[in-house]
């Protein structure tokens, strides 16, 4: 039925495939550039988000290199395509450490961040002479700076409950906010927002009624009509949502076409692809809470940073400089390495912890207890009469309120183990 000779070919194949595996394995050398492994999706459905982040990092690295690099060494961004898969990301951490890379960064997806954090911790525990730092530029799950905090992890974005804290503080002052609807994606990010928003609103404005709360499957809803009719049925005047990407764009579009008149308090109203999809339907209706937006440079008169933003736009006409935290992250890393005088992750981490840094938005502070960056936050609203528009739509954001880093600060439960 089967023949013996089948087997030989298999082994030839195995050997051949193994031989090919030789190519990517290169040794490390001392005088090479400081390399930062960028682990984000570069293919598949989220590829554009990943590429946008990569361009941010590359741009910042070029600026630093033009200014003379760090300790005389150039900075190089090494992209790793994680296909938005946690296990793939974990194996990229391994691959990066195998090449002697001492810093990895990632932002898209707290599930991915969790896997990377785990892989980094594990690696640093098992290979003390080949450690790696994880610089998190966008994954906002509070756990990473609370119960799962790690000496090897630094977060440069504001974590989710900080944003909710800022949002609810602002909303508490508005008398016309009476009924709030919480619509979020059905995963930990959405769960955190739903819970935190309910608690904080109850504390700050007990008279505000939670008109309803709904979790919907992430990335699967194509027709938000049923949700919009639920929001309408609840009589809510405001919606808090942590939705991002098409989940937000579709929601706002549907609300607009059904003539629903509510304000959307969002995390990612200015996130990649969202303004383009919402267009002017979001004007005076979509608010976002971020650490920065382009018109801050105009409002606070920051010509140097404006030049940076313009140069980025010229370089990448399709996207805008969006991740201010990448600016913070890169320059704080530079400062930390220069302070430590080495790229050894343990020393750099010690230098980074507790560091204060003058950012265009004011002084920011990397809290030593939990490695969470404390920074001012901006609540802004979509407007068609601003200097900087987003995604070439003619619509941009205008600041409604600036929340100082003291006001946005929250306690941490982190009990950090330090080596």
């Amino acid at each position: 039925m089967r023949t013996l000779y089948h087997k030989r070919g298999a082994l030839v194949g195995m050997v051949a495939a193994g031989a090919l595996a030789l190519t990517p394995l290169t040794a490390t050398q001392a005088d090479e550039p400081i390399r930062i492994g960028y682990i984000d999706p570069l293919s598949g459905p989220f590829a554009d988000v990943g590429h946008a982040g990569l361009n941010h990092f590359r741009f910042a690295a070029e600026r630093i290199n033009d200014e003379g690099g760090i300790l005389g060494r150039a900075v190089e961004i090494v992209p790793y395509d994680n296909q938005q898969s946690p296990s793939e990301s974990a194996s990229h951490v391994q691959r990066a450490t195998g090449r002697g890379i001492q810093f990895v960064t990632q932002g898209n997806g707290s599930n991915i961040a969790g896997a990377i954090l785990e892989a980094v911790d594990r690696n640093n525990r098992r290979n003390p002479d080949n450690r790696v730092l994880y610089l998190n530029y966008a994954a906002v799950d509070p756990a990473f700076t609370n119960e799962r905090c790690s000496f090897w992890h630094f977060r440069f974005d504001a974590e989710s409950t900080m944003k909710i804290e800022a949002l609810t503080t602002y909303m508490a002052d508005l008398d016309d906010v009476q009924k709030v609807y919480l619509l979020n994606q059905d995963y930990s990010h959405g769960h955190v927002i739903e819970q935190a928003a309910e608690e904080m609103l109850a504390e700050k404005r007990p008279d505000i009624e939670i008109a309803g709360k709904t979790l919907h499957p992430i990335g699967q809803v194509r027709d938000f009509a049923p949700y919009v009719s639920r929001i309408r049925g609840s009589g809510a005047d405001s919606v808090i949502t942590g939705n991002w990407g098409s989940d937000l764009a579709l929601l706002v579009r549907e609300a607009d076409s059904a003539g629903l008149d509510v304000n959307f308090y969002t995390y990612y109203g200015g996130g990649l692809g969202v303004p383009a999809a919402i267009g002017d339907r979001g004007v005076d209706r979509v608010l976002q809470i971020t650490e920065w937006h382009a018109n801050v440079n105009v409002e606070e008169d920051q010509p140097e940073y404006a030049e940076w933003v313009d140069a980025f736009k010229e370089r990448y006409p399709d996207i805008d400089w969006y991740y201010h935290r990448i600016y913070n992250q890169m320059y704080m890393l530079k400062a930390a390495i220069e302070e430590a005088g080495t790229t050894e992750p343990k020393d750099v981490a010690s230098a980074l912890a507790g560091m204060e840094f003058e950012s265009p938005t004011g002084t920011v502070h990397m809290r030593e207890d939990d490695h969470q960056l404390q920074q001012p936050l901006y609540l802004s609203i979509m407007d068609d009469d601003v200097e900087y528009d987003v995604e070439n739509t003619g619509v941009g954001f205008r600041t409604l309120a600036k929340i100082s880093s003291e006001d946005a600060m929250l306690p941490t439960t982190c009990e950090m183990e330090r080596p």
Binding site: M1, R2, T3, G9, A21, S43, N55, N111, E118, R315
Partner: protein
């Protein structure tokens, strides 16, 4: 091809020499397993090879369904993933309580979970073969995957579950912190599982699985219930898939919902089919190839998913016996001496196809640069050249190469090859 004689050689009257012949591939395989980490020492390469081991077990278990029993499943990852989750829960239980199960046996937990769910889902899905089975497997796959987001207690939500493989005790006192130790553990299990699945094909059940695949009616009239045969095969395949899941836990120490997902189910289908479902070792080759491509090709080119899809479509269209099938076919032809007299045309045919492939790859790479790069005017590296894709020249050259290669094959090499083989075969 003279199959008769080979069948005689492989028949039941095998002498000691034949036994040696039967064993050597396994011995060689074990040798390769030992030598590989000596050559490729980086921790990443070792993890990659460990993943290959996991995928080999998984793909072989898939072939117990598709190749042996003719059951096309779109949800085999369910058993892989549930095995992995269960093994992870046990690993975490050991972490939490100090329960004394040695780490070497954790994959068995995965296997038991696979068996358990295989029995449950198998009993409802194996009544029919063909499209009905395929659809039920798809439905169950989607259901379990969606459940992963609902039953977050068991599945750990989208963040998944973590464990630490260094916590449990070891039967042999080995420290499983370093990847290399896990690599050898995985490989021992892989070899054991492969031998077990190889032997399973020769049992009454294995034979009747083939019988039911080819002719369920005749199987009934020799006393076998096709449903029961499918069910047993299904449960066993699920067991080995669960074992693969348990191994996966040891390698990655993380389990997420993607392990039960459609993409994982698709990957194992692709692996088995690209390798070749007609022979035992086809899926082994396919698993190695797919893991390698997933890990490496994605670093080299943005177009890797497209290449992957094209490779699969081409295999289905032109080589349904799989890559391994093609290799063995050619090997037999060579042994039988039918390469003699047609060597020239064969080389010519292969060369023309390679030229066509180079042209096609060039076009695809340039297209990706043109459409996807933020600045298409920036020169790109293509093979050994540097090209600017905004001009017409590179396109013309690449298209010419592709068309010329294809035309040479279709219009010249293939007829020539047919003539040569028609003459040489007799």
């Amino acid at each position: 091809m003279n199959t008769t004689q080979e069948r005689v050689a492989a028949g039941p009257n095998a002498s000691a020499a034949v036994w040696a012949q039967r064993l050597w591939p396994w011995v060689l395989g074990a040798g390769v397993v030992v030598v590989m980490p000596v050559i490729f020492t980086s921790s990443y390469a070792i993890t990659l090879m460990s993943h290959m081991g996991v995928m080999i077990v998984f793909a072989l278990s898939y072939n117990m369904l598709l190749g042996n029993t003719g059951l096309l499943s779109f949800g085999h990852a369910v058993y892989f993933g549930l095995g992995a989750y269960t093994a992870m829960h046990v690993l975490r239980y050991i972490q939490a309580t100090g329960f004394g199960l040695p780490i070497e046996l954790i994959p068995l937990v995965g296997a038991l979970a696979g068996l358990f769910f295989g029995i449950i889902f198998g009993s409802v899905s194996t009544r029919r073969a063909g499209v009905v089975f395929a659809m039920i497997s798809l439905g169950i796959g989607e259901m379990v995957h969606a459940s992963a987001h609902i039953f977050t207690g068991f599945f750990g939500g989208e963040a998944g579950l973590f464990g630490n493989r260094t916590v449990p005790s070891s039967l042999f006192g080995v420290d499983y912190g370093p990847g290399i130790a896990v690599y050898y553990l995985v490989m021992v299990w892989t070899l054991l599982a492969a031998v077990a699945m190889y032997l399973l094909r020769q049992t009454p059940l294995g034979w009747m699985a083939n019988a039911v695949r080819d002719n369920p009616e005749r199987a009934q009239f020799v006393g076998y219930s096709p449903q029961m045969v499918r069910f047993f095969q299904f449960a066993l395949a699920a067991t080995f898939a669960g074992l693969a899941g348990g191994l996966y836990v040891l390698v990655d120490e993380i389990v997420t919902d993607e392990t039960v997902g459609m993409i994982q189910s698709g990957t194992v289908l692709l692996s088995a089919y690209i390798g070749g479902i007609g022979s035992f070792f086809g899926p082994v080759l396919g698993a190695i190839l797919v893991v390698f491509l997933e890990g490496e090709l994605s670093d080299i080119t943005d177009a890797w998913l497209l290449y992957f899809g094209l490779l699969f479509v081409l295999v289905v269209m032109f080589a349904p016996q799989g890559i391994f099938g093609v290799l063995t076919q050619q090997f037999f032809a060579w042994r039988a001496g039918s390469w003699r007299g047609s060597l020239g045309p064969r080389l010519y045919g292969v060369a023309s196809l390679v030229v066509a492939a180079i042209g096609v790859v060039a076009v695809i790479e340039m297209a990706y640069h043109y459409f996807r790069h933020w600045n298409p005017a920036e020169p790109m590296a293509l093979f050994i050249f540097e090209v600017t894709v905004t001009g017409p020249m590179p396109w013309a050259v690449a298209l010419t190469v592709a068309v010329a290669g294809l035309a040479a094959y279709v219009g010249h090499a293939r007829p020539m090859l047919r003539r040569a083989m028609g003459g040489g075969g007799r």
